[in-house]
């Protein structure tokens, strides 16, 4: 919740040692987001470390306007873009990790369905993949996505749901 974040941010701004609480809260979504961009664990770890170190160093100047995670993801995105200047970009990492299922038949159906969906997502353009990534990999709220993308919350919501509707119709 944003209000809870406010307290954590204020504490960390007064004492950098309290930054650990913010780190604990956001390390997983930041890592997942960066993994989906980088496509491998080593680079995702490196980018995650760079993101949090930069956030720690600049936190005292950060002014809370309700969405800390938007600020943090701007840093993460910036670090990732720096990374891609030196390395070729990979498509959104999708369904690279197989799911074990007790029922072999269900397993095959499930894998096929998820595989098709993953391929469809990979076919989207970068901005659409970014929208999907922020929502379903980083698990950002629409308000946080809106703050990050500089768009209205309802516009982000509509864009995403239109995209989902399209993907869903293509899957049917």
């Amino acid at each position: 919740m944003t209000d809870d974040e406010t307290a954590l941010i204020a504490a960390a701004q007064r004492n950098p040692a309290d930054f650990a609480a913010l780190y604990d809260r956001f390390v997983q979504p930041v890592y997942r987001y960066l993994y989906s961009l980088a496509g491998n664990a080593d680079d995702a770890q490196d980018l995650t470390a760079q993101t949090f170190l930069a956030a720690l160093e600049t936190l005292s100047r950060y002014r809370h306007r309700g969405h800390f995670i938007a600020w943090l993801f701007r840093i993460a995105h910036s670090k990732a873009m720096d990374y891609f200047r030196h390395k070729p970009q990979v498509a959104l990492d999708t369904a690279g990790h197989q799911v074990e299922n007790a029922d072999p038949l269900a397993d095959i159906v499930y894998r096929e369905e998820i595989g098709r969906l993953a391929a469809l997502i990979r076919s989207l353009d970068d901005s659409q993949q970014e929208l999907i990534r922020l929502r379903y990999v980083a698990e950002l709220s629409f308000a946080e996505m809106a703050a990050l993308l500089g768009r209205r919350e309802d516009a982000v919501k509509k864009s995403l749901y239109r995209l989902l509707a399209r993907l869903k119709s293509q899957m049917e």
């Binding site: 007064r14 780190y23 664990a41 770890q45 995105h77 074990e100 969906l117 993953a118 989902l164």
Partner: protein, 781 residues
Amino acid sequence: MSKTPPFPEFEENVRAALATPPTDTKFVTNLRSKLIAKAHDMLPQTRHFLHRPAWRVALTVLLVLLASVLIIGPQRVLAQIRGLLGYIPGVGIVEQSAPLRVLAEPVTMTREGVTLTVTEAVLSADKTVIFVKIEGVPADAYPEGEAMGCLGNVDLKLSNGTLLEGGYISGGNWNSFESRLEYGPVPAQVNDAVLLVACIGGTMPGALPENWEIPLRFAPAPPDMTVAPVIELSTPAATNPPAADVTSTPVLSNTMTRNGITFTLEKFVEVEDGYQLYGSLDLSGATLPAQGYFITMAVIKMTDANGNRIPFEAMQSEFQDNTVFDPNKVSWIYRTNQKAFTAPLTLTLSWVEMQIAPQVPFELDLGPNPQIGQTWEINRDLTFERHTVRLLSAQLVKSDDPQWASSLKFTYEDKEGGIFINVMDDVPQKPLIGVRGGGGGGGGPLPGIKFARMNYREIPGGLRRITISTSVPYRINGPWQVIWNPPSTTESIPTSAPEACLTSEKWEQVKGQHEALPVGMGGKILFTTDAMSPDMNVFISNLDGSDLRGLFNGYYPALSPDGMRVAYMLETDVFVNIFDINSGQITSLGTGTEPLWSPDGLRILFYSPPDGLYLANADGTGLQKIETGSPRGNLIGWLPDNQTIVFSAQVGDIYNLYEHVFKTYNLQTGETKSLFSITTIKTPIGAISPDGQWIAFNARLFGDNLNGAVFISRLDGSERKLVAMLDNTLAFHPVWSPDGKWLIVNIVEPYKPTSPVLVNPFTCQVVRLESVRGEVQSWRP
């Protein structure tokens, strides 16, 4: 009503398709240790600060002061300490232990049509503040769609090689804007630096010149530079008792402790149009039922010696001094807009809200051989410090995350909104992780059905002992009161402004009442809820809430004057349709939003971004563009002649978001007439009375603490009257009754559905519409 997104199951599939491998625990732990070590390095520890020139200055000052205490006594030393702090408008409180410096001269640099001007800088012993103006950023430099622009980091490289980081400029899609950059102190002997602007924040990489290097030169501040003295108030040795059960009338001072929380007024500054007051909350004595953090506090009210409320407004904490570490201390800054008062003044704080994390133990017997897909019905209320969720069921499912074999997925109902539970098995059989709920709940602070789950490496079985925790608000009630005696002045004391018809006190009063609607009052209302597709969010009912009927899902609905049709913007697109309530027939009007019916119901006006206003007949024919000559307008209403529209237009340039002027535009003659200006907290919202004699509108009022206020006035701005202004609660979107004698004002309290309330702006009678939960959009006979 549930708040499910349109395709919850499909969303789960998308998550599965995007599954990433788990984070390496060792990496997470190592990075955490590294960050903590880095954080400790950032603290001003003694082993470092002797090597830093700025701290040498401070240490010297402290040594001099210590010597002074021994020589001349503490009272006079206090006066000297006071003199070390000064206030500079736009910069904030600065230390004056070293001479202040400023930018020797503004510096401008233009590249490919984009101009950066460093307009001002202030350098003090504790901070460096630089103001930059950016002009000429073309609109197409900003990304379209969902793409993000660059971060916009701005660093300051000093001539001694030191790099100060932390500045940031962002365009926010503006063509021209100004940014305030703040850095740590620049050593006294360094008078040259280079401002390094990596890029204009928010623009697409490569769209504009990057890596700007702007040379800056600093010089001593001119002797006439405005530095207001900061008056620090000493804290009395004996304050009010800190006991939790204070009942006697305390003797007020500038500090008060109650329920373990100390409320203190610490210092004040006289500024051009009033005073700025600085204070704190010390939470170190507060006793909480679970671990918690400070979240927020009530608006601080100021009253004079006669008990009259003085306009008093919280300030943004832009310039707040956060350099002194105290985890239990919360700082606040408020300001007045007057300098003369009937002293003494009393500052009252009603409550403080913490966020706590209570836990509830829970047992679930999965039996000896549980199967994927098996469900256990629970249906039990769990109470977390006055907040209750109903745990409905648990289901063993295949985990979304390939690292885990199964998930125990709990379904619960959050009737209040804003409650998310965490579940954790107390005795994990294997490495296990608890996952915060999400998915079907749709997130956000709304009530609804939500999920929480925890993952297992294998299929769990037997009796599971589980800890369920959540994070909930916990309010500590005061009141805390402190007193302030402002300096005497020869200025005359302003007359107290009339109170609003609907205040927080009145709202609390009517919330507890079940008052019938005034005799003869009725009609149909159209209102919206926060529901998302596929649930309907547009409803029609009688004023008393009876005959409720869901219509469709859409935005900006407006009920026709005959109550038979609804014009609205589609949920999925910026497009205006008309819905016939009886037949369900839909008529398309065109691309646009915020439709407004003409009083005769024959025409509809709507806004079509980005190029302006359009008018169409209600049967969908006759679409035409309206040229009012005023860009960035918002529709307000029609006059009864069916020919004159009222709209608001932004005043000045595009950055002036909060200054607007109401105007009329005659559709026949094309004549535009200005009515009056207002200052708002967001897009102007207003309504014209059915007789065309009054306008109700939202506007800013000093002391509303950004909650806004609802006013009525004549169309020329005269006879303005404050209708509603509440503390910690938003009052907005006034809607006139069909007879023009009453208003519905929509009230939004944090994390609660919108509550409409009837207010007679002429008699100040207030009646709650207790059967309606939503934002009323239209009221027809």
